[in-house]
Structure formats: C-alpha cells, structure tokens
Subunit: 225 residues, 2 copies
DNA sequence: CCAAAAGTGTTCCGTCTACACCCATGG
DNA sequence: CCATGGGTGTAGACGGAACACTTTTGG
C-alpha cells in the first residue's frame, strides 16, 4: 500500500456539487441543511467523500445521481479548495463541481427527501465552510462559459421558447437583453432548431418551440452569443 | 484526529507546477527528468506532496520557491486531477498550478541543479502520468486569460519593447499580429507606460522601453487586448 | 375588447482589419 | 551604404446596439 510515498501525509478528499437550476426566470442553487457534524444544521452544498475506486468525476457523478436520480448531467470542475482549516472538523481537501439541471426533470419528492431547497442565487444565505467561495467561483465560470458554450439548454426542457432562452441569459449574465437583437442572433445558429410545435401555456397567442440539436452542434462546435 | 470522518479513505495529495517562460520568441515549459520511483527518468512536471500545515496554494508556492528561489510568482490553479490510476505507484490526487516567470530572472545554476530544461511548448515530449493533460489545460486557460488579464508582463523583464510584448502574444495565441494594430491598441492602455529608456540591444535604431504600471492597473483593473 | 406575450428590420456608430512606407543606426 | 528592426495613419468592412409597432387570442 505505502510502497512509494509513505513518508507523506494523507488527507480526506471530498467533492461538493454546485447544482444550478432555472425557475421563475431566476438562476437557482440547490442547497440543504447539513445533516452531520461538524456544522450540522448549517446551509451547505451537497457533497461526499471520494471512494477508493472512484475518480473525482466518478464521485461527483455518484453524488449527483444519488441526489437527483439523473444521469449524464452536465458537470464541470470548478476547482480544488484546500485551505488548512477550511473544514472545521478535520483536514479535508474538496473539489467543487458545477452542474446544470432542468428543474422540472428533477423529482420534487427526492428533493424533499434530502431536505434540499432551490434558493435564488442573488439571495444566498451564508453557507458551511468555504462553500460560498465555491459558488462565487462557479457563477463566474458559468458567466464566462455561457457566452462560448451552449450551456443554457441544460437548464431548460428539451423544447423551449425563445423567450425562455432569453430569460436564462438574462438571469445568468444579469441585465436585460434586447429581444430583437437576441432573436436575430439565435436565427443565425443552425443547431437551435425551430419545431412545428407551439407552446400555449405561457402566452395566449402561443410561442414557437425550439430544440437544441446536439448532433449538429458536435459536428461544428462553434458557439458565440 | 479521526473524530468525524474516520470511516472514509484518505489519499496523498500533490501539487504539480506548470511553469511557463518566454524566450527566443517562444513559449517554453519547464520540465525535468523524474528523480524518484515510480517513473524515474521520465519527463515530468515538478511537483511535491501537500504537507499538513500547508494549503494547496502554500504547497505550490513552496515548490516554486524551492525550484526558482523566486517569491510572488504569478500562479493560478489549473484544476484537480484524480483518475484512480493516474499515478502508476499509488492513488494520488494532484492539483495542477500554472506559473508564469521571466526566464531571465531565473538563476540558471538552480535550473541545472534540479536538472530542469526549458522546452518549446509545441514540441513537448510525452510526460509522466497525466502531466500532458495538465499542460494542455493550462495552455488553454492561458490563451483565454491573456486576452482579459495583463499576464504577459509576468513573462517579460520589467522593461520591455513593444515588439517583445507582441511576440509574447503571438507565441501564446499562435499566428501573427499586425504591428500597427497592436501598437494602436497598446497606446490606448494607460497602465502600459512608455519610459525614456531605449533598448539598443536588439536593434540598431533602438526601441523605446515600456513598463507595466501595476498600481495604475489595480486602480482600474480593466484589460482587453 | 383588452391585456399579455410573440414576433419582426433598419439605421447608426464604433471597432477591427488590412495595408506600405520612411527612419535611425551599427557594422 | 545597406541591412535590420522601429515606428507611424487611413479607409473600408463588419458587427453590435438602439429602437416601436403589429399580431394573436384567452378571458
């Protein structure tokens, strides 16, 4: 076991999941009350320790799957956090992962079972340990990436209206976007396909439903909003 | 010691330093032959294990200081690497850090003492473990950041000519930049100050030396190349 | 019939790009 | 005197930003 590096110290390594959702035209974060010591009862990201046969990504995927029952969630590493006293109990090095899910694909029963809540990103409470820092970094990353990667679709249903899509960008980037300019740009992107379907839920007139064609994007993965 | 998390496994955690330099109009990477098992003799980044009283940043700074004798080196986390079998010897989770230094501030004796070499970024050999991946990610990060942060000055002496500065951008971004357009943009940036000094080394006519005014930048930290 | 959201083009302005010649000097 | 790198301006193309009215229909 300790054939090579035995003179060095070992540490616990955890993953923490920053799960973003979009609802009510707002960017939301999934947090819960911490169920173990130390810090029991504090608001916290959901995380878990890395197991022996798991990579960091595996661990993050496991935690996300446990929480949501969902697979193939969009996920990206935010970074490693390793201040000596970041965890009030022990020395733990944590790797933060950011995930984007569609709130309506997520079983609300499961959410309640874990005691989790969707909280508006602009009114986060103080979180356990350095989790606020992790979230801050994740939001900054998200703001950068959303301009050059087709991330927004992960936060929406398969079929969405252009107004919904615009609201995602407005929520993440902050500030209003001109409707005509936005739609003009979207029209030039051929992997955002208009369908024949019409959404009659959110408007009386009805709005065309669009779809993200991932195959088409993968063929020519260029995106600029 | 194991009051809270004792049922979970612990791992070695290391930092690996991706040290970039600029010389001969080329972006260079500092690598050496690995001096320990496993992998003895393979080309490798320089790294070290995280100690008990060190944060990840502390560890990276220590390793960099040991190598170069320099302090306050520009450094940024690249990410955590945690595939189960990434290290051929044991399970080690490594956090990669990218550093930018001025090659000519770096004592060549110290470099040789550690058996390190500057290698052109476009002709890297195969490196130990997942170090090539780390470098690839670091280069991508660098290419992005150099457009929005004043990083290039870390690779140059305090006083530099505009031609040198342009060569840094060309080396990192790949491809040629129009001299007149480049200089036009630089003139608009007030924290890049022209000095009265003239460099007569690289040209017969002599070129004006410029300086990065960090205070001025910090007052108004906006940068766009 | 009216409130509410969908849908649609044009003009203007600023930014980026392409491009070529003279200058100063050391050897 | 010539080879070498330093230094300078303009015109045209392009892309982003501002901007207001008509349409449809459920209630």
């Amino acid at each position: 076991m300790t054939q090579y590096y035995s003179e060095h110290s070992q540490y616990w390594v955890s993953v923490d999941c920053i799960v973003f959702g979009f609802d009510n035209n707002q960017l939301k974060l999934l947090i819960g009350r911490r169920q173990m010591d130390p810090g029991r009862g504090e608001w916290s990201l959901y995380g878990g320790f890395v197991r022996v046969n798991e990579s960091l990504e595996d661990a993050a995927n496991r935690v996300l799957h446990d929480l949501t029952g969902m697979r193939k969630i969009y996920m990206k590493q935010v970074g490693a956090f390793g201040a000596v006293d970041r965890d009030p109990g022990e020395r733990v090095i944590s790797v933060a992962y950011c995930a984007l899910i569609n709130v309506h694909d997520y079983d609300d029963k499961l959410r309640e079972q874990y005691g989790l809540q969707w909280v508006d990103i602009d009114s986060l409470p103080r979180l356990y340990s350095d989790h606020n820092q992790m979230v801050k970094k994740a939001v900054m990353l998200l703001r950068h990436r959303i301009k050059t990667e087709p991330l927004s679709f992960n936060l929406l249903p398969d079929l969405f209206t252009l107004t919904q899509l615009q609201h995602v960008y407005e929520a993440i980037l902050g500030g209003d976007i001109d409707k005509r300019n936005f739609r003009k740009r979207i029209k030039q992107i051929d992997f955002i396909e208009k369908t024949e379907l019409i959404d009659k839920v959110t408007s009386k007139r009805g709005a065309a439903l669009y779809r993200f064609n991932r195959k088409m994007y993968d063929d020519d993965p260029i995106f600029k909003l």
